[in-house]
């Protein structure tokens, strides 16, 4: 069980949206994490260095927040390490061919009224629902 946290969800979501707006305003880019991670993997993109710094900020932000406020950020992984590896490999392949993930398509693309992102978001939400249903209720894990 995890608790429904509407206020934290709304405020956290606002910060995610704000970062997308600031990235557009200052850098003219979509805040898609697939693009950022992809840019620092071989063969690296020509503009990899500022993207690497963005990723470093994304990692540092929660650490600083947690130290400053004393709030513990929970990470509970209900699946085994083996499934985590399988899931990670599948996500990597999927976001590469699909050209984005939850941040790029789901937040930024939808906010730009991109038809591609709308289709991608509907498709991945549907297969995620189906996958969780099969794992939890068909196989009963």
């Amino acid at each position: 069980m995890t608790e429904f946290t509407p206020l934290a969800a709304a405020f956290g979501g606002f910060l995610i949206g704000l970062s997308a707006v600031l990235l557009m305003l200052f850098h003219g880019r979509i805040a898609g994490m697939t693009g950022f991670v992809g840019a620092v993997l071989p063969p690296v993109a020509s503009d990899w260095s500022w993207r690497a710094v963005f990723l470093a900020g994304a990692i540092a932000g929660p650490v600083v927040y947690s130290m400053a406020t004393g709030n513990v950020i929970a990470i509970d992984e209900p699946v085994s390490k083996a499934m985590l590896v399988v899931g990670g490999l599948i996500v990597g392949v999927g976001v590469t061919f699909g050209g984005g993930c939850t941040s790029g398509h789901g937040v930024c693309g939808m906010a730009r009224f991109s038809k591609r992102s709308f289709v991608a978001t509907c498709v991945f939400m549907a297969t995620t629902f189906a996958t969780v249903f099969v794992i939890r209720h068909v196989f009963g894990a």
């Binding site: 910060l15 805040a31 993997l41 470093a56 985590l84 399988v86 990597g92």
Partner: protein, 145 residues
């Protein structure tokens, strides 16, 4: 300047993910488990982020150019093709298995759990493999590219 700005904006993004609970696979997966331990937080996060971006983009895109770059670089294609649909479908399967997406896992990397490290390592292998695969496919069938 570019790097400092990227660092600060990255921190805002990561902090938003952490506060929203989206760095936590258990919470993400419970959103998708409507028939079980349902937690609707994820949809609030997505809508809050999307509406904020929607409002802010209108303002940001009214400028001639971004503050630190010569021009905006927006995806220009509107093509709904097989790679988009199959890729998104595949991504959803992996997200449903692990509870991590790229944006959820990166901000979780420094929080002392080994799970995001395992996920991001595997995801990176998947990205590099898929690119290699795509390049070879493009070479084998240049007409469809």
């Amino acid at each position: 300047m570019r790097h400092l700005s990227a660092l600060l904006i990255g921190m805002v993004f990561g902090t938003g993910i952490a506060i929203s609970g989206m760095a936590n696979p258990a919470k993400v997966l419970n959103f998708f488990d409507i028939a079980g331990t349902f937690d609707p937080s994820l949809v609030i996060v997505m809508f809050s982020a999307m509406f904020t971006a929607m409002a802010g983009y209108r303002f940001a895109l009214r400028r001639e150019r971004p503050v630190l770059e010569a021009s905006f670089s927006l995806p220009s294609t509107n093509l709904i093709d097989r790679p988009l649909v199959l890729g998104a479908a595949t991504f959803g399967i992996g997200w449903g298995i692990s509870g991590f997406c790229p944006g959820g896992a990166i901000p979780a990397l420094g929080l002392g759990s080994v799970d995001p490290l395992i996920f991001v390592a595997a995801m990176s292998v998947g990205i590099v493999a898929a690119r290699t695969w795509r390049r070879q496919g493009a070479k084998a069938a240049p007409a469809t590219a």
